[in-house]
């Protein structure tokens, strides 16, 4: 049983009654619990069925992988719920796949599409009309994919971003003549290409077999993407590993950059719009930035590091891990969520830092207020259930597997739950035991159907499986704790 790396709440009213559905990704499985007590697990069961139906759509190597005995199940890295509350959009990391699930009336998830991208998706967002998934990838590009794949996908040809691909496939023409003046290296590449072409082995990548449109791109790994509408104008906000936050117009004018929000000195990992429209961003810096993002104007920096240091210092078992001089102490903000309501007209967000067993409640008053709420384990993700007009409940996914404040060391007491619930009354967060007990199955037992592959002892497994398992574990840890890794290491490559 592994922690929930992502959770989402889907709240909807059907037939006049309000209900919520909690969706969690635990490793390679999706777990669901609804407010009326239904519990479901998706562990890839209808994957095979799907594949048979759409056999022609799948590249051959994919099928081989799935039918092999050591078939691995890829880890979920992102979850999103459509605005109409009918679909779950998920990304699996190892196969770079964008998957769309329909939430059936009996709360089963039905996977309706798998679209494997060329580059690993880092963040996804949906347009407000739910027509389009915005997929931001590791290479810095944002692609638009229709939420529901059109029927003609199989025969889709022209690709927006690789227009000359078809031409290259037809016949290779050397890119330069011998008259071309360039470095020896370039010349070697060219000679190699000519040689390969003469043998007819010019390899070109197989284009993606589904509709996807390149909207915009940074020359840096993207970390988050947000879609929003202000006074009838649509915007895409993107953040990257190089401190940038870009504000672009929404499609069909996504090629127009309106402005940049400049102020971060380290990578940006999360973007969050508050209820009244401010942008809050955070990442490798000690602070959050608050933006009037339409103007690219930095309004305020709110220090989170101080709160982290104070919190750690107060924990008897953690205080000793703090350095004497906290000057260079680094935090990596890994999550920012706007609460569903703004109490007393105040903008507020919850913030978590990678590997820190607490969440921070930040109110944008003047001056900003940062309060700390301790957790049983490192905070992984937060989702909200709006129980009533005045109360808001946060469901927090915590890491029960690793020691608090550690990202690799396993803890001895793994028996704790994977969820903690808190409700906010009059600006105070208190534990919500009632909801926690309602979510007992989700927190401590799900998923029911489980090849306990990750937990099985290595002795029981063949060599291949051990390797596969180690690979799995690494992939999983990268999904859980990948934010600090975005930080640049100095002196990597000066003179090359």
């Amino acid at each position: 049983m592994v922690p929930y790396q992502c959770i989402q709440v889907c709240e909807r009213s059907t037939n006049g009654s309000h209900e919520w559905i909690l969706v969690g990704a635990s490793g390679s499985k999706l777990v669901i619990q609804s407010s009326n007590g239904a519990t479901r697990t998706w562990a890839g069961e209808d994957k095979y069925m799907n594949l048979k139906e759409n056999e022609t759509e799948e590249p051959p190597e994919k099928k081989v992988k799935l039918s092999s005995p050591n078939e691995y199940s890829p880890t979920f890295s992102c979850l999103a719920i459509s605005n109409d509350k009918q679909y779950v959009v998920a990304v699996t990391a190892e196969d770079k796949c964008v998957r769309v699930f329909q939430i059936n009336s009996d709360y089963h998830l039905h996977e309706i599409s798998q679209r494997c991208m060329a580059r690993r998706p880092c963040a996804i967002a949906l347009t407000s009309d739910d027509s389009t998934i915005l997929c931001a990838d590791k290479f810095g590009d944002v692609y638009a994919l229709p939420l529901i794949s059109p029927a003609e996908d199989v025969h889709h040809e022209s690709l927006a971003d690789e227009p000359n691909e078809a031409a290259t496939q037809k016949q290779f023409v050397p890119a330069a003549s011998l008259l071309t003046v360039h470095s020896g290296r370039n010349r070697k590449v060219l000679e190699e290409q000519i040689k390969l072409a003469s043998k007819g082995r010019m390899k070109t990548k197989e284009p993606l077999q589904f509709k996807h449109e390149l909207l915009l791109g940074h020359v840096s790994m993207l970390t988050d993407v947000v879609y929003t509408t202000v006074s009838g104008r649509n915007y895409i906000l993107t953040s990257d590993r190089d401190e940038h936050i870009r504000v672009s117009r929404g499609p069909p004018q996504a090629h127009i950059i309106e402005c940049f929000c400049q102020g971060h000195e380290e990578f940006v990992s999360k973007l969050c719009l508050t209820t009244s429209g401010f942008l809050i961003s955070g990442g490798g810096d000690p602070y959050l930035c608050v933006w009037d993002w339409l103007k690219g104007r930095l309004l305020e920096k709110i220090c989170i590091r101080t709160a982290v240091i104070t919190f750690l210092g107060e924990q008897p078992e953690l205080a000793s891990t703090l350095p004497h001089n906290t000057e260079g102490f680094k935090i990596a903000i890994s999550g920012i969520w706007s609460t569903p309501r703004n109490y007393n007209e105040v903008n507020e967000v919850l913030v978590v830092c990678e590997g820190v067993p607490a969440f921070f409640y930040v109110r944008l008053e003047s001056p900003a207020v940062v309060e700390t709420v301790p957790l049983n384990g490192n905070a992984l993700d937060i989702a909200f259930i709006s129980a009533s007009e005045s109360i808001c409940t946060a469901v927090v996914a915590v890491d029960h597997m690793h020691k608090p404040w550690f990202t690799t060391e396993r803890r001895a007491d793994e028996g704790r739950g994977r969820l903690q619930c808190f409700e906010c009354r009059d600006g105070r967060w208190g534990q919500d035991r009632k909801l926690e007990s309602e979510l007992e199955w989700f927190s401590r037992r799900a998923p029911d159907t489980d090849g306990e592959r990750r937990d099985a002892g290595p002795a029981l497994l063949a060599d291949d499986s051990v390797r596969a398992r180690q690979k799995d574990e690494k992939a999983f840890r990268d999904v859980l704790y990948g934010v600090e890794k975005l930080r640049k290491r100095s002196g990597a490559d000066e003179q090359d």
């Binding site: 290259t168 003549s177 590449v189 090629h255 090359d496």
Partner: protein, 288 residues
């Protein structure tokens, strides 16, 4: 470069002599001490220094003749932090308006400087040694032309323009961008490393003012076609017609004054030129 200590030592001695020996202030640097391999990976984290935003870029060391001196002294005392920041933005009489991206040894830069004596021109180069060469040459040419004030409008920075252009330039700040003989990156896998791509063109459009022009030249036909295709596909640009292109005063200079251009000339190779004009942004879709 390990295994060549003598070379490194010679370079260091030479570079030191430039700064310490006053008699050498006006002598042009020698290229042989500044050669560096032609490729740099635009995706890697070079140890670059760049401002957080254009407001915070200090141009005064690059264009000392264009700083507002008196203003600076007055403001220093009793200044709040905010004001210090605005001062560095306002501390210049002019802003850079011409950028030569991947300027190499600066052939074009030094040809453009006297053509546009009232315009600040900036060369941007990712290779450290090559940047140093251009900076030394700027210094030498300024010393040589002390009487006329020539070359005060030319300078060079080390930067990765593919990542950090918006850190140096405000929206619509530039009038001309030159992309001369860029690395062709033949490998398909490396096409995203090319200096022109549909997505990167959005950043050129951001820093260019409407009516501004991107100049491209290459001796690699395939790359030329690539650049044309990617700019023509981008709705913020239109290609200039043949006649208009040849009437542009910079085109001849671009053909003849760049180092690569001269090499191609010697090899009797071909040169492919294409110019693109930054168009006005259209109204928002819902506001036609």
């Amino acid at each position: 470069m390990p295994g060549e200590p003598a070379k490194r030592q010679k370079r260091e001695q030479y570079k030191k002599s430039l700064t310490t020996d006053e008699s050498k202030h006006a002598s042009l640097p020698q290229k042989k001490f500044y050669r560096q391999r032609a490729h740099a990976n635009p995706f890697s984290d070079h140890l670059l220094t760049y401002p957080i935003s254009p407001e915070q870029m200090d141009w005064s060391t690059h264009y000392p003749a264009y700083t507002i001196r008196n203003d600076k002294e007055e403001n220093v005392t009793g200044d709040s932090h905010d004001q210090v920041e605005t001062r560095s933005a306002n501390g210049m009489k002019k802003k850079v308006e011409i950028a030569d991206i991947g300027c190499g040894f600066g052939g074009l830069l030094f040809a453009l400087a006297p053509m546009f004596p009232e315009t600040l021109i900036l060369g941007i180069e990712i290779r450290t040694s090559v940047t140093e060469y251009v900076q030394e040459k700027v210094r030498a040419l300024r010393t040589q032309n002390k009487d006329t004030g020539g070359f005060q409008n030319a300078s060079c920075i080390r930067a990765n323009s593919m990542k950090f252009l918006p850190n140096f330039f405000f929206k619509a700040q530039l009038g001309k961008i030159f992309l001369c003989f860029p690395d062709p990156h033949f490998k398909q896998r490396k096409h995203k490393a090319r200096i022109v791509s549909y997505t990167l063109n959005s950043e050129y459009a951001y820093v260019l003012r409407p009516g501004g022009i991107v100049y491209t030249i290459t001796d690699v036909e395939d790359l030329h076609n690539w650049m044309v295709e990617h700019f023509e596909r981008h709705p913020s640009f239109e290609r200039l017609g043949e006649e208009e292109q040849e009437n542009e005063e910079c085109v001849a200079v671009m053909r003849s004054e760049t180092e690569e251009g001269k090499k191609v000339e010697r090899n009797k190779g071909q040169k492919f030129v294409a110019l693109f004009r930054r168009l006005d942004d259209p109204p928002w879709p819902s506001e036609h």
